[in-house]
């Protein structure tokens, strides 16, 4: 076996942990978590209001408002997701 390929394997093994995901410092990455949490909150609020409106507890105005907010939240989330996926695919298509 060529010594160079053995060295390459060894180098790869030592360099590998560098690419492993690790916990960022506190505060980093929580923006996205917050966003996801708020998105889920908006969704569940819309569902609750829709259910209440169906049983006659909620005002139709509240229903329309909650559903409009939910619609915009879903639209935002879908748009951002599409952008992220697109960027990821751009990276994957990069010639190595």
């Amino acid at each position: 076996m060529d010594i160079r390929s053995a060295l390459a394997v060894q180098n790869y093994a030592t360099a590998r942990p560098a690419t492993a995901p690790k916990e960022g410092p506190a505060g980093q990455g929580t923006g996205l978590t917050d966003f996801a949490q708020k998105f889920a909150d908006t969704l569940s609020e819309g569902e609750t209001t829709a259910k209440a409106a169906m049983t006659g507890d909620a005002d139709p105005h509240a229903l329309v408002h909650a559903l409009a907010e939910t619609e915009l939240a879903v639209e935002t989330a879908v748009t951002v997701r599409d952008k992220v996926v697109e960027a990821y695919q751009e990276i994957l298509r990069m010639p190595v």
């Binding site: 105005h61 329309v64 409009a68 619609e71 915009l72 748009t79 599409d82």
Partner: protein
């Protein structure tokens, strides 16, 4: 919450307030012939929930119009006094209809703004799609 989302909330509260005003107007018209009925007056007040310059509106306590009740001459009516008069309501249909029309116009204005804020948010997101 972004300004456009706030606009949605405020327009929604405006619509609710105008709907409540229309309900009171309807009650007034329905009771136009009720003896002793005093017309209800809807009051509007802004909601202060901690935000500076809060723009949300709601209807406050209903007050009763204290103008004199109409004296109706009808001796056969069970409520009539010695002179044959009894108290009617102080509902003026012309005023009520005008009030209802005003509520409708304000409602439409709020509705338009609601739709506009929604469309503006939507078209802002459309920018990211191309």
């Amino acid at each position: 919450m972004s300004d456009l989302m706030k606009a949605l909330t405020f327009a929604g509260s405006g619509m609710e307030a105008q709907a409540s005003r229309l309900r009171h107007t309807t009650e007034n018209i329905a009771n136009a012939d009720t003896p002793g009925y005093r017309r209800k007056i809807t009051s509007f007040e802004s909601v202060l929930n901690g935000m500076p310059g809060a723009g949300e509106v709601r209807t406050g306590r209903v007050s009763l119009d204290q103008t004199d009740l109409e004296r109706i001459y009808d001796p056969s009516h069970p409520l009539s006094d010695d002179t044959g008069h009894h108290d009617g309501s102080n509902v003026d249909l012309v005023i009520e209809i005008a009030d209802a029309r005003e509520a409708q116009r304000s409602y439409e204005a709020n509705l338009r703004l609601f739709d506009q804020a929604r469309q503006m948010t939507s078209s802002l997101l459309d920018l990211l799609r191309r």
